[in-house]
């Protein structure tokens, strides 16, 4: 699956990084940065959790 970030929506809550630390990093100001696309069933589960966790709905597949 894909993991796409709408950077205009990201408010820096950081919950995506909690759910998918391998896929989403936070910059020094707390804004999300996708580090790599999901590449395993485990990644897919983490990506879905990150998408669901974002209060700003900034992530999608």
């Amino acid at each position: 699956m894909k993991l796409l970030l709408d950077s205009t929506r990201c408010q820096g809550y950081g919950l995506c990084h909690e759910k998918a630390p391998e896929l989403v990093d936070l910059d020094e100001w707390g804004y999300a940065a996708i580090t790599r696309p999901p590449s395993s069933p485990e990644d897919d589960r983490a990506a879905r959790a990150a998408i669901e966790a974002c209060p700003a709905q900034a992530l999608r597949s």
């Binding site: 796409l4 970030l5 709408d6 950077s7 205009t8 929506r9 990201c10 408010q11 820096g12 910059d27 020094e28 100001w29 707390g30 804004y31 940065a33």
Partner: protein, 405 residues
């Protein structure tokens, strides 16, 4: 006779977009043609790059070429809606005079990000001229956005020119802005020599997008600039003359970009601003070596972080300042450099009068080491009462008559 849609797409083969990204025009045409109706074609003349004049010049002086290209593109995608989109007030009359009643004219407030194709989609939907996250890209949704020079080149192809020249704007080096027709094989050195007789220590290439470049023996083309680690972008080059300090130019450019941020993406709001602040400190002589390390790290992490390419431009600029001019940068650490604190102008100003016609940069003359012709200046002080500019010979002879024939 109007060519068929597939003939027009074939005509566009090999043409790359002249707005900055250089996306293949034929690919866009074919992609939008496959999209579900309604389909819209937009002639994008909103030239956000402060150092570029070519799009304004085309709309003011060669609107018939742009409109012919727009007509061809509309035929190619069977468009339901055709739009000319720009901010230049002086272009409005020339476009209105020639545009068929079916063509919509949308004029927006000038802004660096207003020409971004997702900003145009937002305007078409009744919103502000600010970028949207991608994907989807506009051409995947039935909106074909082509730069006005891309359309003019399509029209020239249709008129029988196999390899129409590019337009390039040169600024800086203590000279007024000059506009040039660039024929295949022209080097950046020949282009800068046509702009200024003074020594050139480098350029800021591709508008504000291509970073600094000191290698001038490269072809002025997408591939030529890319091979040199830079980018052709919209064909605007800010020349660094003997009196221009790269740190001062970078500081001015980053300050401009930070000020033009749409303030939509946190990574850009914070990141672009941080790069700008550090280079401003470097210019002011208050930056430390640790600040430079942080600048390099931040610049490496910023590309791709925004909805549009603005933070990418800022990152490339900062990175290229550090890598292309490392010795100059070191000389600016505390206590700094006095010489570079003079104001820097990045703008190819032409607010009141139409620019003078493009001067052909003859590659045959320049490549045989003949002394370069002095560039004809686009005199920003020319008043509206001055005699109208003469038409550019090349465009008239080869393109316009051909298009009308």
């Amino acid at each position: 006779m109007t060519p068929s849609p597939s003939e027009i797409i074939e005509l566009a083969a090999g043409l790359r977009g002249r707005g900055g990204a250089g996306f293949p025009t034929a690919t866009k045409l074919a992609s939008v043609r496959r999209a579900a109706a309604p389909r819209t074609v937009v002639a994008n003349g909103e030239e956000g790059e402060p150092g570029s004049l070519k799009d304004r010049w085309l709309l003011r002086e060669r609107p018939e070429l742009v409109l012919e290209g727009l007509r061809l593109a509309a035929v190619a995608i069977e468009a339901d809606r055709s739009v000319v989109y720009f901010s230049d007030q002086a272009a409005e009359q020339s476009v209105i005079r020639l545009a068929p009643p079916t063509v919509e004219i949308i004029r927006v407030a000038p802004r660096y990000v207003a020409g971004e194709e997702t900003s145009i989609v937002r305007v078409l939907d009744g919103g502000p001229a600010l970028p949207l996250a991608k994907p989807p890209r506009p051409y995947e949704q039935g909106v074909l956005v082509l730069n006005v020079e891309s359309l003019a080149r399509l029209a020239r192809r249709a008129a029988g020119e196999s390899d129409p020249p590019l337009l390039a704007t040169l600024t800086g080096g203590g000279r007024p802005a000059t506009l040039h027709e660039v024929h295949p094989g022209t080097t950046l050195r020949a282009l800068t020599e046509a702009h200024t007789p003074d020594p050139v220590r480098g350029v800021l290439a591709g508008g504000l997008f291509g970073g600094f470049l000191t290698t001038l023996d490269v072809e002025v083309s997408h591939d030529g600039l890319a091979a040199a680690g830079s980018a052709l972008g919209c064909g605007a080059f800010r020349v660094l003359g003997p009196d221009d300090c790269p740190v001062a130019v970078a500081a001015a450019a980053l300050d401009y970009l930070a000020g033009q941020s749409a303030q939509q993406c946190g990574a850009c709001i914070r990141g672009t601003d941080a790069l700008s602040a550090t280079v401003a400190a470097l210019r002011a002589g208050t930056a430390t070596a640790a600040d430079l390390d942080l600048l390099a790290t931040r610049a490496s992490r910023l590309p791709g972080r925004g909805a549009c390419g603005l933070p990418d431009a800022a990152a490339r600029l900062a990175t290229s300042l550090l890598t292309v001019f490392p010795a100059v940068v070191r000389r600016h650490l505390i206590p700094g450099c006095e010489a570079c604190r003079l104001p820097v102008d990045l703008h190819a100003t032409s607010t009141s009068a139409p620019p003078q016609p493009a001067r052909r940069l003859d590659q045959h003359t320049t490549s045989t080491s003949a002394p370069p012709q002095p560039a004809r200046h686009l005199d920003q002080h020319t008043t509206p009462t001055s005699p109208p500019p003469r038409p550019a010979r090349d465009l008239d002879q080869h393109a316009i008559e051909g298009v009308r024939a």
